[in-house]
Amino acid sequence: MPVRNMVQAINLALREEMERDDRIVLLGEDVGKDGGVFRITEGLLEMFGEERIIDTPLAESGIVGAAVGMALYGLRPVAEIQFLGFIYPAFDQIFSHAARYRSRSRGRFSCPLVIRAPYGAGIKAPELHEESCEAFFCHMPGVKVVVPSGPYVAKGLLISALRDPDPVIFLEPTRLYRMIREDVPDGDHAVPLGQARIVREGNDVTVIAWGSMLERVVKSLEPYDAEIVDLLTLSPFDEETVLRSVAKTGRVVIVHEAPRTCGFGAELAATIAEEAILSLRGPVFRVAGPDVPVPLAKLVEHYLPDAARIRAAVEELLRY
């Protein structure tokens, strides 16, 4: 099986699905001739032409808004937002429209689009290039939120997102784009949305992570008998897999790089409290970014959860 990094895996998913489905078109800043600032769309302009690989003006709301219009018309647009921190002007389009057209029209119109955006800290980039605001989108009924953590699932999840009949926010962990290489098959291998995966089985503690943090969690917890859950889809998240693991271990640590307050860990912790409190042997711990804006490169490692913080949380919980 060919070994690929995440950039190659995402590129392959786009290429194969575009060959299969002529409704798919790509639009965004620098996605055409330049192949995207991370080269995710490299070579696609040559393969599919300007009709389907569309370089747009610099206008995030316009890009997502135009994608909404294309989706309403019957296409399957993929809008690239160059960095997640640039998506804020497009919030209105996502929240007020992409998420609501199906509901607003009682199913007469729908909005099958994918918004791809690189996210996460630790790439020595300028301000607003390292955001991790995934929780905002989880609070929008009508959109799905998917966060792959490596090349294999990135390809499979993107295939599922491109075939989904509803809007999907697809967040790509920038720090891992070229860090992890693994077997990624050619051809059709969809990883279903809404299903978490157990990356490593264990008995003492359940550690839940996604996207960029998964790699740190796996590396940090090698010496522990931890069950590691990779959420993959944040909205709707796989409650069943989470609760089954919690019932087994009785201890939960949630790791995310977004600020703690109202991060997606809060939703997980609340759900576990509602559904599984009698299984718990200790409090649900969150290892998260502090409630501050993401700092620039010199201080970013004091912001991001690291091995020491992840292990400390697990150690403390194991004492209960």
Binding site: G65, G69, L75, H97, R102, R108, G142
Partner: protein, 356 residues
């Protein structure tokens, strides 16, 4: 090196029918007698719908409603030029467009009464749900036009909005993309002079709204928005241009919101009665009636029959709207996604059980 003028930009305005009902014969669009009477009847029907909606709101039978009084020609005249296959992205004050396109009136009443099922556009019409968030649907029209071009469909896309929307970022981003890609889209602004309490002069320092198109590389034209012939003709020409690959057009319909912003507003707080009275003299329907009378197409008998017919149509629509089966409570879950999420399924059961 001399200082030189490198570009000049004319802004045109079109007037065909004046307030007394006199038309400039050389500019009259190619409309038959039947077409012209049909236009008149649609204007009358739009105003009747509007009046009934205001009454129903006062009786508590529908919710907040935005009146179109005074803007009927801008809406009916433009929509009359459209084909059913065209795609229409309305704002929330487009009753005249809905009427002219043949959107079922009972559905409109149901929507304003608070029933989303009123936005289920019948098959064969491509009218999108009303957009409450001002101007944010302009990029959708642009995207639909991109899709139509990609599909090689010989249609045009139309977006309706007001003067307030021209201050929004999405107006700029949408117009800019429409110009860059020369898309088959027609933008119709009903400049009704007021965005709730904010007058046109506080929306923009530009002399006209039409001229904004120039900066995006396509034509903007101002028309007398109370002149149904001017609106129709400008729209017809813009649609021809769109369908033949000539790119977008922006039409500013210069009109006036005679009524309050909505039934929840009191316009007397911020504008003078004199101003409103001045604009009432330029009524779009009365001027077409005068034209028809001068042309020998209009009689008192015709008017009485038309009013009777219109009343019956509205009565029937209200009856149908109010006798529709109430929505089931679980309906709020049914169209958020194509398939319910596990959590929604549990929540839906909770709502069902609460009603059992």
């Amino acid at each position: 090196m001399p200082r030189s003028v490198i570009e000049t930009f004319p802004v045109t305005r079109l007037d065909i029918l004046d307030a007394e009902g006199n038309a400039d014969e050389s500019l009259l669009p190619p409309l038959s007698r039947e077409d012209t009477l049909r236009l008149y009847e649609l204007l009358v029907l739009s105003r009747a719908f509007d009046g009934r909606a205001l009454s129903l709101q006062r009786e508590g039978r529908i919710g907040t409603y935005p009146s179109i009084l005074g803007q009927e020609a801008a809406q009916v005249g433009s929509a009359f030029a459209l084909e059913k296959s065209d795609w229409v992205f309305p704002s929330f004050r487009e009753t005249g467009m809905h009427v002219a396109m043949g959107y079922p009136l009972d559905l409109l009443f149901r929507y304003w009464a608070g029933d989303e099922r009123g936005l289920v556009t019948p098959e064969g019409l491509n009218i999108l749900p009303v957009c409450v968030s001002v101007g944010t649907h302009i990029p959708h029209a642009v995207g639909a036009a991109m899709a139509a071009r990609y599909r090689k469909d010989p249609i045009a896309v139309v977006a309706y909005f007001g003067d307030g929307a021209t201050s929004k970022g999405d107006f700029h981003e949408g117009f800019n993309m429409a110009g860059v890609y020369r898309l088959p889209v027609v933008f119709i602004c009903q400049n009704n002079q007021w965005a709730i309490s904010v007058p046109r002069g506080l929306q923009t320092a530009a002399a006209t709204i039409a001229q904004k198109a120039i900066a995006y590389g396509f034509e903007g034209v101002q028309v007398d928005g109370n002149d149904v012939f001017a609106v129709y003709d400008a729209t017809r020409q813009a649609l021809e241009r769109a369908r033949s690959g000539g790119g977008p057009t922006f039409i500013e319909c210069f009109t006036y919101r005679i009524s309050h912003h909505t039934t929840a507003d009191d316009a007397d707080r911020y504008r003078s009665v004199d101003e409103v009275e001045e604009w009432k003299k330029r009524d779009p329907i009365e001027r077409l009636r005068r034209f028809l009378e001068k042309s020998g197409f209009w009689t008192i008998k015709y008017q009485r029959e038309l009013e009777q017919r219109t009343r019956e149509t509205i009565d029937q629509a209200v009856r149908e709207a109010e006798s529709a089966a109430p929505a089931e409570r679980r309906e709020i879950f049914l169209s958020v996604f194509e398939k319910r999420t596990p959590r929604q399924i549990r929540e839906m059961k909770g709502v069902d059980d609460a009603g059992a």
